[in-house]
């Protein structure tokens, strides 16, 4: 019995040691860069990983680890293009991508920046697209894949809450134009292809205005 407890304690200590090493390595690169080409992440993604709304730098904090890891690979292999992010990703080793994805996925979700109140028609269109889609044009609702309130689902479906309207709009346009084509089964290319400019403006503003946590009861 005593031995088990000791073994357990040792094991936990080792485990804790391992994670904090990973996390601190991730934190170091985030704050200082890796010294061979990757600029400090926080310069653009914020000290808390919350991103910068006005510049369209995305929130990284609390995103699924597997999703973050995949995006770094996708920038590096150009299935997702960005003049800003590609050189950064290319300068990261496999191991560095691992620790950074782990680090950011464990950061607490920061409170989203306050966004201006939505006009009625924008709010209405945004809510319909988010919760009901437009099936007459075989467009599913965003939350059928991104989860209730857009909080994200599992490893492959990132949250949309806590991202700025600039960033959401940029990504939807990138899929329409083909500069981002890293989505599994072309799911987002197909979604974006069915959105008009007015749709993109409304849905981007709508998600940017939602709280980052679990949604309150949706009223159909």
């Amino acid at each position: 019995m005593k031995q088990t407890v000791i073994a357990l304690l040792m094991c936990c200590a080792l485990w804790a040691g391992a994670t904090s090493a990973d996390t601190s390595q991730g934190a170091t690169i985030a704050q200082q860069g890796n010294g061979h080409g990757a600029a400090p992440c926080m310069a653009c993604h914020g000290a808390d990983g919350g991103g910068q709304a006005a510049a369209g730098f995305p929130r990284l904090a609390g995103l699924p680890e597997a999703y973050l890891r995949k995006q770094l690979d996708d920038f590096a292999n150009s299935s997702r293009t960005s003049a800003t992010m590609q050189p950064v990703a290319m300068a990261l080793s496999d191991a560095e991508r691992d620790v950074l994805a782990a680090y950011y996925s464990k950061l607490p979700v920061p409170a989203p920046a306050a966004s201006p109140p939505l006009k009625d028609d924008v709010a209405q269109l945004g809510q319909v697209l988010a919760t009901r889609g437009r099936w007459s044009n075989t467009l599913p609702a965003c939350e059928q894949c991104h989860g209730p309130g857009g909080i994200g689902v599992g490893d492959h479906f990132p949250p949309l809450t806590g991202q700025s309207s600039t960033y959401i709009g940029n990504e939807l346009h990138a899929w329409q134009q083909g500069s981002r084509h890293n989505d599994p089964q072309q799911l987002m290319q197909s979604v974006a292809g069915k959105l008009s400019e007015a749709d993109i403006a409304a849905i981007s503003a709508w998600y940017a205005a939602q709280p980052a946590g679990v949604p309150k009861e949706s009223q159909p």
Binding site: Q144, P148, G154, H156, P220
Partner: protein, 309 residues
């Protein structure tokens, strides 16, 4: 004694009502082979009224309640639901989508004589079966507020349609027979490539914040062995037209058949009509090549119901 027996017979018939085969087509595969390309043509079909047209009065309240039940029966009809599915899991867009067995396709076609039950079933009886089988729950009694609200919703959605005329877009498409006999291993390949991202590597779906986002395809939280989706024809038609979500009609017919076979070659909750033994239950309710109940696939006798994934 006599009245007891007939009550029993009626109960059995009602229970059997949602075997989920469309009343008029007795033997869907064999009889009328669909054209080679089974992708639904752009042929126009009935357009139900927009949701914004639900009236703001006491009638409209029942319509809205029916819609809520349809989209989230686990919440609004909790007592009658025994799994993580919703009606909308299989009838997309809140029961409005053509080729997804829409409510506007069904409502004007009841009461219907069903050769399978040798009886005429009302729309409400049809709905009862869906709770027994697809929802693996129990049927709300006739007249129950749940059935009233669902029927009101379907009625409202069907406004302006002719009664008793099968509309284009009703039901799921009937695919023509596959070139190759549906196959488990090929189906598994399709599943891993096109389905697992959402429905999970083991088909158990995914939840977020306590909501089912991607429903389970088999196992204890899915539809039971009495449900219409258990028939490979229904599953293949549904999958071809509606899956992967938002990208319907991108799979080949062969892929749809293979993955439907693979899905239905997994264990799920027992058929509530189970009687005596698996062979006897197969003989009574699953006596068709379209059902894998009671057959052995990959060394596993299907229909044991234990439903571990």
């Amino acid at each position: 004694m006599k009245s007891k027996t007939s009550a029993l017979i009626i109960a059995t018939l009602v229970l059997a009502a949602c075997e989920h085969s469309t009343p008029q087509t007795a033997a869907p595969v064999a009889k009328a082979p669909a054209p080679a390309s089974s992708a639904p043509k752009s042929a126009s079909h009935f357009t139900p009224p927009p949701e914004s047209a639900i009236p703001n009065d006491d009638f409209g309240k029942q319509v809205a309640l029916g819609r809520q039940i349809f989209m989230d029966p686990g919440k609004y009809a909790k007592a009658y639901v025994g799994n993580q599915l919703s009606c909308e899991s299989c009838h997309l867009d809140a029961g409005r989508l053509a080729h997804s067995a829409p409510l506007w396709g069904a409502y004007p076609m009841y009461p219907a004589y069903r050769s399978k039950t040798h009886d005429v079933n009302t729309f409400a009886e049809r709905l009862q079966g869906c709770f027994n089988y697809s929802m693996n729950g129990k049927a709300p009694p006739l007249g129950d507020p749940v059935l009233v609200a669902l029927e009101t919703y379907a009625y409202w959605m069907s406004k302006g349609e002719p009664i008793g005329t099968s509309q284009p877009g009703r039901s799921y498409p009937k695919l023509s027979k596959p070139a190759l006999t549906p196959d488990y291993a090929r189906g598994e390949t399709v599943f891993k490539r096109d389905c697992a991202l959402c429905h999970g590597d083991n088909g158990q779906g995914q939840q977020a914040a306590g909501h089912t986002v991607f429903p389970p395809l088999w196992g204890p939280q899915s539809f039971n062995w009495g449900a219409g989706m258990e028939l490979v024809t229904n599953a293949a038609g549904f999958i071809k037209a509606n899956m992967p979500l938002g990208r319907g009609n991108t799979l080949t017919d062969q892929d749809a058949w293979d993955v439907a076979y693979f899905m239905n070659a997994h264990e799920r909750p027992q058929d509530p009509r189970y009687k005596d033994s698996i062979p006897a239950t197969r003989a009574a309710f699953h006596d068709t090549p379209d059902s894998l109940y009671g057959t052995t696939v990959n060394g596993h006798l299907l229909g044991q119901g234990g439903a571990s994934p």
